[in-house]
């Protein structure tokens, strides 16, 4: 059954060519929780996620999975424990949903051990979980953005990993589909999966995260529970944006109300907490 995995980032630096994007970053991912990484564009959050998923080799430091450096582990062994859904992945043209989700079984197959009953079970569960079983023989090209995202998540689920990393799983989705995808990931987390994702929407991040990591310029500015981290000071430090933070009327988590050049100072901070 699902084990709680420890995932620790130790003094990690990551570069593209000669440009260092993440500098000496340390982070402990709380096991069995939802961690959301937020930050302005180009702050290195996607790069950090790629580094954690060993898609990018560190220039220094390490990512430790259960105490072992992921970059030194056999890639197959990592893939059995840690899954990653990259930002806007590309499906081969004409591929069917069942075929794409089935490719999530890659780490569990070998040159000789091909498709088994277990593979079929995993794919069937992933489809049922994401509510995409009726799409099984449709072509991925024909699906709507929301359906396609659910299919990609199904592929990651079929991999049956205890840890799931997702890079902006809600991009290109309308609000209803964003909430649907995040609810799905929450269900998943409630069954024991550790989820780490990059999200753009601060309010959704606050609502769905147990742990928020705010980044700027390749370093962590603040981390902790959303109510502790998401304050006007942090938002200013991370985005350079003035805002007010009010409790979310539904769940009481912080809700960020941005100010701007044209809209500011009308609402006094005292009256904002409605």
């Amino acid at each position: 059954m699902t084990a709680e995995r420890s995932l620790v980032v130790q003094g990690l630096s990551l570069s593209y060519d000669d440009r260092e994007v993440v500098h000496d970053l340390s982070l402990t991912v709380p096991p069995g929780r939802v961690t959301v990484i937020v930050g302005a564009n180009a702050c290195g959050k996607s790069t950090l996620l790629r580094g954690i998923a060993r898609l990018l080799a560190p220039t220094s430091g390490a990512v430790l999975l259960d105490g072992r450096a992921v970059h030194e582990m056999p890639t197959r062994e990592v893939a059995e424990v840690l899954g990653i859904l990259p930002q806007s992945p590309a499906a081969p043209g004409g591929i069917s949903v069942a075929d794409l989700v089935g490719r999530g079984r890659y780490p569990h197959q070998g040159w000789l051990r091909r498709w088994t009953h277990q593979d079929e079970t995993a794919v069937a569960r992933a489809l049922a979980w994401t509510g995409t079983e009726d799409l099984a023989d449709r072509s991925v090209d024909e699906l709507s953005g929301g359906q396609r995202q659910r299919v990609w998540i199904a592929m990651a689920l079929a991999q049956e990993t205890d840890l799931l990393l997702l890079d902006e799983p809600t991009t290109f989705l309308d609000l209803a589909h964003q909430v649907e995808v995040l609810d799905l990931l929450t269900d998943l987390n409630h069954r024991g999966a550790t989820v780490v994702m990059v999200l753009h929407d601060l309010n959704l991040a606050c609502r769905y995260a147990d742990h928020v990591v705010a980044m700027r310029d390749g370093a962590v500015v603040a981390e902790g529970r959303p109510s502790d981290v998401i304050t006007p000071e942090t938002v200013r430090a991370v985005y350079g944006l003035e805002c007010q933070v009010v409790p979310d009327p539904v769940c009481g988590t912080p809700m960020v109300v941005p100010l701007g050049r044209h809209h500011g100072g009308v609402v006094a901070p005292e009256t904002s907490a409605t």
């Binding site: 004409g94 794919v123 991999q159 409630h190 069954r191």
Partner: protein, 366 residues
């Protein structure tokens, strides 16, 4: 409370009911149905293409100045024909027909692998300079070094490999980019073709005629001496490629997602490129730089089997295209000794134009 339907993930329940077992069962049925449909389609397409290859082979062995009945061909093949038929089938027609089938299959798989790998329908060995590298090396070997026969084929194969290495070195900065690979390859093709033209202008007419096959690609007069190395090369590389197809289908989801699935992306790509270039080299060494077979085989096969890597089907389509083209080249009225490359060029050029126009419109081919 609903039943847990087996499987490892998502693991211990903390308050949320699992997906209902009947939904998982329905999903399982859908997965089975879809996979069964894929398998059936693959089998059907494979059977039809294989039948076409066999049919073309039979026609190639029986048609010509010395027409033979199927019974006579069969007799010759099993060594019980009378002298003339035996000679025509075993020494004249069989090597050429086999060369068409096997070289076509090699070209087809080579193009299909490179196109999938570089995610670009133009990434085929005849477009990105790999065949041109073989030609240039062969022409230099014939006219510069005075070689002939099998050594020329060997030099041609080396030329193809060296060209591919050079293109990869020039096109790879950090990560291998399909788009850059194709552009560098087209430049390399132009340069190498210039080398061929330059060497030919310096040559005597008789020598130039011998080197001509390396410009256009031809199976005229192909004998066992050319077919045996082709069969050996294909015998090693084609099975290797079908096995590597597993990695190719993993890479289909994109480099990051593939690495996330535990695929060693860099190593798999390198292996696939080497095998694909090897196939193009072996085929070019036997048949010359026959144009467009590698370009069209993959797309046709993938249209027949959408979403699959379709390497076996690409091999069969390549075999069909080259065999059929060579039959036309051999028996076209009023045009004796027509090189097969002319036929594939006539058929393939409009396809290339269509591809470029379409790419210009929607940007997919770069």
């Amino acid at each position: 409370m609903t039943a847990v339907a087996g499987g490892r993930f998502p693991g211990p329940v903390r308050g949320v009911p699992d997906v209902a077992a009947d939904r998982v069962a329905a999903a399982r049925e859908a997965v089975r149905r879809s996979r069964r449909a894929d398998r059936r389609r693959e089998a059907r397409v494979g059977a039809v293409l294989a039948a076409l290859v066999l049919g073309l082979l039979a026609v190639a062995l029986s048609v010509g100045d010395f027409p033979l009945t199927p019974a006579e061909v069969l007799g010759a093949l099993v060594g019980r024909g009378e002298g003339g038929a035996q000679l025509v089938v075993l020494q004249l027609r069989l090597p050429r027909a086999l060369a068409a089938v096997v070289a076509g299959a090699c070209f087809g798989v080579s193009g299909a692998v490179l196109q999938s790998l570089l995610r670009n329908p133009l990434a085929s060995p005849d477009i990105i300079g790999i065949s041109a590298g073989a030609s240039a090396a062969a022409v230099v070997a014939i006219l510069g070094l005075g070689l002939s026969g099998l050594p020329v084929s060997g030099v041609a194969a080396l030329g193809a490999l060296a060209t591919a290495l050079a293109i990869a070195a020039l096109a790879t900065r950090g990560a291998l980019s399909g788009y850059r690979f194709v552009l560098v390859g087209i430049g390399a093709a132009a340069m190498l073709n210039a080398v061929v033209s330059f060497v030919l202008t310096r040559a005597q007419a008789t020598e130039a005629a011998q080197a001509l096959v390396w410009i256009i690609g031809s199976l005229n007069g192909t004998g066992w001496d050319a077919v045996v190395p082709l069969l050996l090369g294909a015998g090693v590389l084609l099975p290797a490629c079908l096995v590597a197809g597993r990695a190719l289908s993993g890479l289909g989801v994109g480099d990051d997602a593939a690495a996330g699935l535990g695929l060693r992306v860099g190593r798999s790509r390198l292996l696939l490129v080497v095998v694909a270039v090897g196939l193009a080299a072996v085929a070019t060494a036997a048949a010359g730089p026959v144009a467009f077979v590698a370009l069209v085989a993959g797309p046709v096969a993938r249209r027949l089997l959408p979403g699959r890597t379709a390497l076996a089907a690409s091999a069969l389509v390549g075999a069909v295209v080259l065999s059929a083209s060579d039959l036309v080249a051999q028996h076209a009225p009023l045009l004796p000794q027509l090189p097969v490359g002319v036929v594939t060029g006539v058929v393939g050029a409009p396809y290339l134009l269509w591809l470029l126009v379409r790419a210009g419109r929607d940007g997919t081919a770069g």
